[in-house]
């Protein structure tokens, strides 16, 4: 079965409920997990915190429909593993609140990973796409094998996909551990990849309501390092880039069954329109595969 992680589980909760009813047939053979970064938690990352609240009722609904829910704790500098909001959220998705064992956390901090593994061991841990370095000069095999040892699921950086695919096809990586982001917002050539996420991490750590307090910085954060030659304006250049069908098929053939659809900053209408397209695409792959086999 294909597992699909979809962004906006809290922010677009009402929309999702309607959407699920409308597309019942489309999602029936898929294992859906929603994710979001709620409650202005200091551990959140990936995007600037906005005031959205995860409630017990939401988790209960996700449980009833057998959906998973993942917390996006992707801040790369976790200052306080005892954070009350963070721990409250972990309790909301674990224990009796996780009867189907589908809930988890998306993260990239090693300190937080160790803490959650020890205290909330049932939660599935996904290595976030935001945790990768800006540079792509890596020993890819060693880098991803180390992540495989630590995480249940790993989302590779978009620019790593050709190399990861090559290693998967060569049998050097474990396909069951990988989650492929179908629609990435980040430009693969962006020189400020981890820097952008570090800025978001800082805002989420240092402000209670960063979205409301600094609305002008909410979407795109300017990074303007000063060099000996003087300040250079760096601006994160974000684009929407969908992965090709043929490439998805190749990932599937290596055993990859986890896919992710980002909802980052998508308008509701866009979200509603794009989601069925992506899911249809993913289902096609499985149908093709069953015909061939």
């Amino acid at each position: 079965m294909i597992n699909v992680k979809i962004g906006g589980g809290v922010q677009k909760y009402e929309l999702i409920l309607l959407w699920n009813l409308k597309h019942k047939d489309l999602i029936q053979d898929l294992q859906i997990t929603y994710y979001d970064m709620p409650n202005n938690c200091a551990w959140n990352g990936g995007r600037v915190n906005r005031t959205i609240e995860l409630t017990e009722r939401m988790i209960s609904t996700f449980n009833r429909y057998n959906f998973g829910f993942c917390l996006g704790f992707t801040n790369n500098v976790i200052l306080d593993v005892g954070d009350e909001v963070g721990n409250k959220l972990l309790q909301m998705v674990s224990g009796d609140n996780n009867p189907n064992k589908l809930h988890g956390v998306v993260l990239c901090s090693e300190t937080l990973r160790r803490y959650i593994r020890k205290n909330y061991s049932e939660l599935k841990l996904t290595y976030s796409i935001t945790g990768h370095p800006t540079t792509d000069k890596l020993d890819f095999e060693g880098y991803y094998q180390e992540l495989e040892e630590k995480y249940d699921v790993i989302v590779p950086k978009y620019s790593h996909l050709p190399k990861v695919l090559e290693l998967l096809e060569a049998g050097k990586l474990d396909g069951s551990k990988y989650e492929i982001l179908v629609n990435d917002n980040c430009n693969v050539t962006c020189q400020f990849y981890s820097e952008h996420f570090a800025q978001i991490s800082h805002l989420n750590s240092s402000m209670k309501h960063p979205w409301e307090e600094q609305p002008e910085k909410s979407y795109h954060i300017e990074i303007k390092p000063k060099t000996k030659a003087g300040p250079i304006k760096k601006e994160a250049n974000c684009v929407q880039d969908d992965i090709k069908h043929s490439q998805l098929q190749r990932f599937y053939d290596t055993g990859v069954r986890h896919f992710k659809i980002s909802g980052r900053d998508l308008e509701d209408v866009e979200f509603e329109f794009r989601l069925p397209e992506h899911l249809t695409e993913l289902k096609k792959i499985e149908v093709c595969n069953s015909i061939h086999s």
Binding site: L79, G82, T111, Y115
Partner: protein
């Protein structure tokens, strides 16, 4: 084994940026050839004169990010980010890194009687009197509580960078310190009790001390212990403070000395 020293500074708090010149001067005095990196990660860029001093002392200024310093937990974030940033940037190029708070002074060359690349972590155990003092503000655990102002960052412990206990009333990050202390106790890391330096009041300085850690000039005791134990060194830095950096060092017993007397 190759190592580098890393620290961070910004022009936001009183004489903080001037402390970086003192730190760098002390590094160069005892370790003329070691690579030193100073992270400049905020919009509060250093004064030109400070940049000039650091350049003369052959400190690599690494300018990146330009975080906007705003709220109280920022210093905690900045220190943690500095360790995160340099461990990602420099480990590999160096076998290990030594992180120093900007308000430290080297009294001699840094050397260790243990393998700094092994599964180790430097810890400084919280003394009983601090626990008593802190206990008046918050519930203290009965287990160990560690803090650290000098970290050896190697591939084994590079993630435990948020251990930073500062013992002041209601502190941001307190829960983290308790939990991280517990994680260290339960980890395979060998704990090395910090013996290479001296917190200005917790561990009285001796002639063998390699490092002194002081707080803001004139407020919390500053260099008072240094004057008693290393008068020549003290005179040299006092001169640098007065004549070059324009800082008057008020050598009085500070907050921590008074708290120690009260709670010991």
């Amino acid at each position: 084994m190759k190592f580098a020293i890393v620290f961070t500074v910004e022009k936001s708090q009183g004489d903080m940026e001037k402390m970086s010149v003192l730190l760098s001067t002390s590094i160069r005095q005892h370790m003329p050839n070691v690579d030193v990196y100073c992270g400049l990660f905020t919009q509060n860029y250093l004064s030109d004169s400070i940049v000039k001093h650091l350049n003369q002392l052959n400190v690599n200024l690494v300018v990146d990010q330009q975080f906007e310093a705003a709220t109280p937990p920022f210093n905690v974030f900045l220190r943690a980010y500095t360790k995160y940033y340099f461990s990602n940037l420099l480990l590999g190029q160096y076998d290990y890194l030594i992180y120093l708070d900007v308000d430290t002074l080297l009294l001699k060359s840094l050397s260790f009687d243990f393998d700094p690349t092994d599964k180790i972590i430097l810890v400084d155990q919280m003394p009983d009197w601090v626990k008593s003092f802190e206990g008046t503000y918050t519930k203290m655990p009965s287990s160990n509580v560690y803090y650290s102002w000098i970290d050896i960052i190697n591939k084994h412990n590079k993630y435990l960078y948020d251990l930073d206990y500062t013992s002041k009333e209601v502190q941001y990050g307190k829960n983290s310190d308790f939990i991280i202390s517990k994680m260290i106790d339960e980890s395979p890391l060998q704990k090395i009790q910090q013996t290479i330096g001296a917190y200005h009041c917790l561990h009285p300085l001796t002639l063998d001390s390699q490092v002194i850690h002081y707080d803001d000039f004139g407020k919390d005791g500053s260099l008072i212990n240094l004057k008693k134990t290393h008068p020549d060194t003290y005179n040299r830095y006092d001169l640098l403070l007065k004549r070059v950096l324009g800082v008057i060092n008020i050598n009085k017993e500070g907050l921590w000395e008074s708290r120690m007397k009260q709670y010991s």
